[in-house]
Symmetry: C2
């Protein structure tokens, strides 16, 4: 795709999103003089190298996310790894690489407000796609949740759901490095294999192998002393089942609600479970923790370089594939951090 294109939301998805909820359309290039005018007004032209596909976008499409709604007819929001082609903004040099809210486009004009929330990609980050995953927002989510909220101690049994995703896999490996016993919940045998063989999880439960009753049995078997830390990325039945197994003094980090993003039950676990366990339950919003990005990148980056921590990317190719890749993500069929390379 050499010409300018963009992906728009055609309609608000019902339940799990479908490819035809989106449409990829040509975007009109700016004429040379209009481009000059845009630069004069402080805008910046970027090439998008990769788009980050993140579950929270589904929530935004339903109008239920902190970051605001994505309405039908709009270009799908979302961050990407961009390179500056032409700059009308003194803060942004041509040739530099950033993580920025470029939307689902292959080339984008970004205004000054976009750069206030953009982050330059440190030159130590290689491949640069890691700035969208294990060394970006998902990595920071994992690091902040684990380091600042979970208060895990060596010897704790930590359970994490959506364990093969970039947040879950990082949480589990940070926990392993901190001396915890780590149990992952993930969907399908390939994720389970990777988590056990590569990421070094002590046990993995395949939630697709049965329904909630089987999940309960498997959790009980994997955590005979109960769950000391539960890091939840999904909500719904999995959250309920995990809360039934909390040990006294348990900590629960509520991080994501994939199971609820496409509709489904608005209720949560019986509070009696939290009382019985004297649990501490904390809600995590990664936007509160940007201050820790350099520290996270230094720590997690060192683990990655030393081979103590591993990450996995699920790559689609070409902007036109973004809708299909996003639908795969929302079905949980991705293996690792979902990206679209352009």
């Amino acid at each position: 795709m050499s010409a300018l294109h963009e992906v728009r939301l055609r309609r608000t998805p019902e339940g799990r999103p479908r490819e035809d909820d989106f449409v990829c359309v040509p975007a009109e290039p700016l004429a040379a003089d209009a481009g000059a005018a845009a630069l004069a007004q402080g805008q910046t032209l970027v090439k998008v190298h990769a788009l980050s596909l993140d579950p929270y976008l589904r929530s935004a499409m339903a109008g239920r996310h902190l970051s605001g709604a994505i309405q039908p007819g709009e270009v799908v929001r979302g961050e990407g790894w961009v390179e500056v082609l032409a700059s009308g903004d003194a803060r942004v040099a041509v040739g530099t690489h950033w993580v920025a809210a470029c939307g689902w486009r292959n080339v984008a004009w970004l205004d000054a407000a976009t750069w206030a929330a953009a982050r330059p990609i440190d030159q130590n980050i290689q491949p640069r796609t890691w700035a969208l995953g294990v060394l970006g927002m998902p990595g920071l989510t994992a690091w902040a949740g684990f380091t600042r909220l979970a208060q895990a101690r060596a010897g704790d049994t930590l359970v994490v759901s959506a364990a093969a995703g970039p947040v879950g896999a990082t949480v589990g490996q940070l926990a392993r490095l901190a001396g915890c016993r780590v149990v992952g919940i993930a969907g399908g045998p390939e994720k389970a294999r990777w988590l056990r063989e590569v990421a070094g999880f002590d046990a993995v439960i395949d939630h697709r192998a049965g329904g909630p009753p089987e999940l309960r049995v498997a959790l009980k078997a994997a955590c005979p002393q109960g769950i000391d830390v539960y890091f939840d990325n999904v909500g719904g039945d999995v959250l309920q089942a995990a809360c039934e197994q909390l040990a006294v003094g348990a900590r629960v980090v509520l991080c994501g609600l994939i199971a609820q993003y496409s509709g489904a039950a608005p209720s949560g676990p019986n509070p009696a479970l939290f009382i019985r366990a004297r649990a501490t339950v904390r809600g995590l919003v990664v936007y509160d923790h940007w201050d820790a990005l350099p520290q996270m990148q230094a720590e997690v980056g060192a683990h990655l370089r030393a081979g103590r921590l591993h990450t996995r990317e699920d790559l689609a190719h070409g902007l036109a594939q973004a809708p299909a890749a996003f639908c795969r993500l929302m079905r949980g069929d991705n293996q690792g951090k979902a990206l679209v390379l352009l």
Copy 2:
């Protein structure tokens, strides 16, 4: 009632308990030589001056409480203010007053294990019934939840449910003394009046004045900046409504589930509410906090003597009235700490 009597559970209540779920029956007095044998075996004879009626007993009757189940046919468990008439236990002097698990009896033989969990009533506590309420387990529940879990700060808006009960009223008044703005949720105009005029609450919402929608509107009006601390004694719809109004950084103490003790919904609030508020939610079990009983009694006792904190007792008279008084408590028709004087 001069002879020995006891109240037994006739059947496990369904929904709200009814008076005929209980039966008050004569108890056979021990013959003199059997009494002597009991004393020789380390047992102790006590006169019960007052019984404490507590909502957790309903949960125990349903077999769902940490303290164990109360089965049909058994004497109803529960604590009371007792005076020692005859002692076979070196730790327990005749004539001393205690809070002990005497059960619903007017005279009781207590074994050695009972005394391990019993607490002498400090001579500074007057009236001694306060050792069952504001200076006893309910007071400790309030003090520990407020002091150790809620992390309230001056200027916070604190909301407490079951606000006219001995836990709720104490939480609210401790919060007022700590500089919080205090909003109570209670049932009926008389409780609201007492909380406003005597306990000094800033606002009181009568949850009987409407259904969940009216409660939402009233909470929003009473807490225009949101709820900083929510102390929950009831669960159910009230917990849900309060969690919808949490301010960013809110703390929630889960203390009791009166709305669930008689059956009803086992689910809790949507975890998205906790994430959005970056809330910290903590389950409270008073048994973890007995170490603080002397400190609580000193602090709350000083407030009571200085007239800075008030308490209210709802007194029934005679063991035969215990079932009716307990049913009143479970309907929320009591005004203050529910007790039966014998």
